[in-house]
């Protein structure tokens, strides 16, 4: 493969995640210029916790989108899982056991998604859209709209604690990221996931167990939603039935900004985390600038479009060479 006369800049921007990372760094500098509070330990912790939650949701979506599917349930699962774990602890179940039960519940829900999609052939959009409503509904009905107080010290530490000055959620994010990255890049399972996304029929014909792989993908998604929900509930100190509305779109946006393609077959964990960071930074910027809340929707929308457009244009240049 020859040089094709590419300039140094073009070679650099060939690294997709690099582009977004640059944007993040530039953005950080701009924010700091506007408001010195940006780099205080407290604010950085706030950002880190935000990135942890959206990052884990985004990583979950990444694997799903790589296979050409989608999961619209993260927002509602945040609420449902938060409420469930809160109820369990309220009924006297100890925190570790409550978390374990919750994760098993998430596996079951993921299996339900997988079964509906692979056995009944329902499109992921509809199945997960149904779940978006159903699980939000269960969360609301079981609490009559009231949040559930969580007082378990260990549990709260998960969301609010620090280890060596670093928020616990960051460790969880790193663990999740390393695990998923390993699965996607170093295991046959990961290759199957990319293969299915690239060309499902070809994958099936080459002997890849498409059904099992897809089921796994949706199970890992709901489990990661569960983990993220635990972090969120721990941070809030409450299982709230009203949280997470619209978060599914943020999670998907983080994945897409990070380079995951809706057409399937392309995406990385690192890219998604950078995407999630960018969205958390923008959110933080708007808060620091004391911008009125409704501006954030408008600005996030513009950012998503700009980020993806820039990415498309630079990708085109690369492909044309």
């Amino acid at each position: 493969m020859g040089d094709n006369g590419k300039s140094l800049l073009q070679k650099l921007t060939g690294f997709r995640e690099f582009m977004v990372l640059m944007a993040v760094i530039v953005l950080s500098i701009i924010i700091y210029a506007f408001n010195q509070n940006f780099l205080t330990p407290y604010n950085i912790q706030v950002i880190v916790r935000q990135v942890a939650i959206f990052g884990i949701l985004g990583i979950a979506e990444t694997a799903v989108i790589i296979t050409g599917g989608i999961d619209l349930s993260p927002g509602s699962m945040l609420a449902f899982n938060g409420v469930m774990v809160g109820l369990l602890m309220m009924w006297g179940v100890d925190a570790p056991l409550a978390i374990a039960i919750l994760l098993v519940l998430c596996i079951v829900i993921g299996l339900y998604h997988g079964a509906m999609i692979t056995r009944l052939g329902l499109v992921p959009f509809i199945v997960t859209l149904g779940s978006l409503s159903i699980f939000r509904g269960i969360a609301v009905v079981s609490t009559q709209g009231y949040p559930i107080r969580i007082q378990n010290e260990f549990f709260l530490w998960i969301g609010q604690g620090l280890v060596l000055g670093i928020p616990v959620p960051l460790f969880i994010l790193v663990a999740v990221a390393l695990t998923m990255n390993y699965i996607l890049n170093q295991t046959p399972l990961g290759r199957y996931i990319y293969a299915i996304g690239g060309n499902r029929e070809a994958a099936r014909l080459s002997g890849i167990p498409v059904r099992r792989v897809l089921t796994f993908v949706y199970v890992q998604a709901t489990v990661l939603f569960g983990i993220s929900a635990i972090i969120l509930a721990a941070r809030l100190g409450q299982g709230m039935p009203g949280v997470g509305i619209g978060y599914e779109l943020n999670a998907i946006a983080a994945a897409i900004i990070g380079g995951t393609s809706m057409y399937g077959g392309i995406g990385t964990v690192l890219g998604t985390i950078i995407g999630a960071t960018m969205m958390a930074l923008i959110d933080n910027l708007l808060v620091l600038l004391r911008v009125e809340p409704w501006w954030s929707e408008l600005i996030i929308g513009i950012v998503i479009v700009t980020a993806v457009t820039v990415d498309m244009v630079t990708t085109r240049k690369r492909l044309a060479d």
Partner: protein, 323 residues
């Protein structure tokens, strides 16, 4: 039963699916009626018809787009944004309905053009570009109004959203007109054939000379244009522009289309089926209120209905589907 040979196999599959939805609608209707007879009073049916109109027009818009392998997540936000611009324009032009409506519809079409161009020329995924619009226009709506309603002080404008033509609410008549026109386009024009062709196999379509770019742009333009129509209807019904209306309507519209037989894999779908899907969604919406179901159960019921309707449909057409 004579088979109409001019109908392609795609359309015949669509037919089968509609019987499923129709059955579901009738059964659901009977059950709700049995639980509360006021469900079928003229007044309540008119209420349902108004809601069917809103969901239906949006769902038809989505149908065109989904058949052509696209999607539009922005329609709910565009509806709200249009409502506000309408209210503002009415204020600025001294209640000139014609000018306000034309401006707003033109604006809607331009938004669709923006979507279409970005999808075809820049190559951004439809999900993302319309997701961006969902945020931009909803956010924009709030920025313009800070959440406060913008009142429309014109009696005659109310007719669109609140009036009746005989026993039928005006919005429902608008839906019927839209349905007839769009059915005509899909079934009897080359444009319609091109839309199905692109959805079935984009590359093959391109190579057979289908003007893929123009047709794709068209479906997105009609998408937001119809969202603009709905925006006018709702602004008229409420006599105000409000930034928070139509939240989540894009998902309901897409669900209605899919329940009605439109396939996210592209190339399949009918206006008939979509309208039935919209009727189902509006009926359930209304039933929850009529049956005085505890508000907390809404989400649960709607989600369960969507999944059940699509599951039943899939199970019944399993043997007949070739997709």
């Amino acid at each position: 039963m004579a088979v109409d040979k001019s109908r392609t196999w795609i359309q015949r599959v669509g037919d089968v699916r509609e019987i499923n939805v129709l059955g579901f609608v009738l059964v659901a209707g009977l059950v709700i009626y049995a639980l509360n007879p006021t469900f079928l009073t003229l007044f309540n049916i008119q209420v349902i018809m108004r809601q069917v109109a809103v969901f239906g027009i949006l769902a038809i818009a989505e149908t065109f787009i989904i058949i052509a392998l696209g999607i539009d997540l922005s329609v709910g936000s565009v509806v709200a944004f249009v409502g506000i611009v309408t209210a503002l324009m009415m204020g600025w032009t001294g209640n000139n309905i014609a000018l306000s409506a034309i401006t707003v519809l033109a604006m809607s079409a331009l938004i669709g053009l923006y979507h279409g161009v970005f999808v075809t020329k820049v190559g951004v995924a439809p999900f993302i570009i319309t997701l961006g619009s969902l945020s931009m226009f909803r956010g924009g709506a709030f920025v313009l109004t800070r959440g406060y309603p913008v009142l429309i002080r014109d009696e005659s404008f109310r007719w669109l959203g609140q009036g009746l033509l005989g026993p039928l609410p005006v919005p429902f008549v608008v839906l019927l007109v839209v349905a007839v026109i769009t059915t005509f386009i899909l079934q009897f024009t080359s444009l319609g054939r091109y839309i199905y062709a692109i959805g079935g196999n984009p590359e093959a379509a391109r190579m057979s000379g289908v003007p893929v770019t123009w047709v794709t742009i068209f479906v997105y333009v009609q998408g937001t244009f119809l969202a603009g129509v709905v925006g006018l209807i709702i602004a008229s019904r409420m006599s105000e522009g409000l930034a928070s209306v139509a939240g989540g309507y894009e998902l309901t519209a897409i669900a209605a289309a899919i329940i009605g037989g439109t396939s996210l894999a592209g190339g399949i779908g009918t206006v008939r089926g979509t309208v039935l899907g919209a009727i189902l969604m509006a009926m359930i919406d209304n039933a929850l209120i009529t049956l005085r179901v505890n508000a907390y159960w809404y989400n649960l019921v709607i989600g369960a209905v969507i999944v059940a309707a699509v599951t039943i449909d899939v199970l019944r057409t399993r043997d007949q589907r070739t997709v």
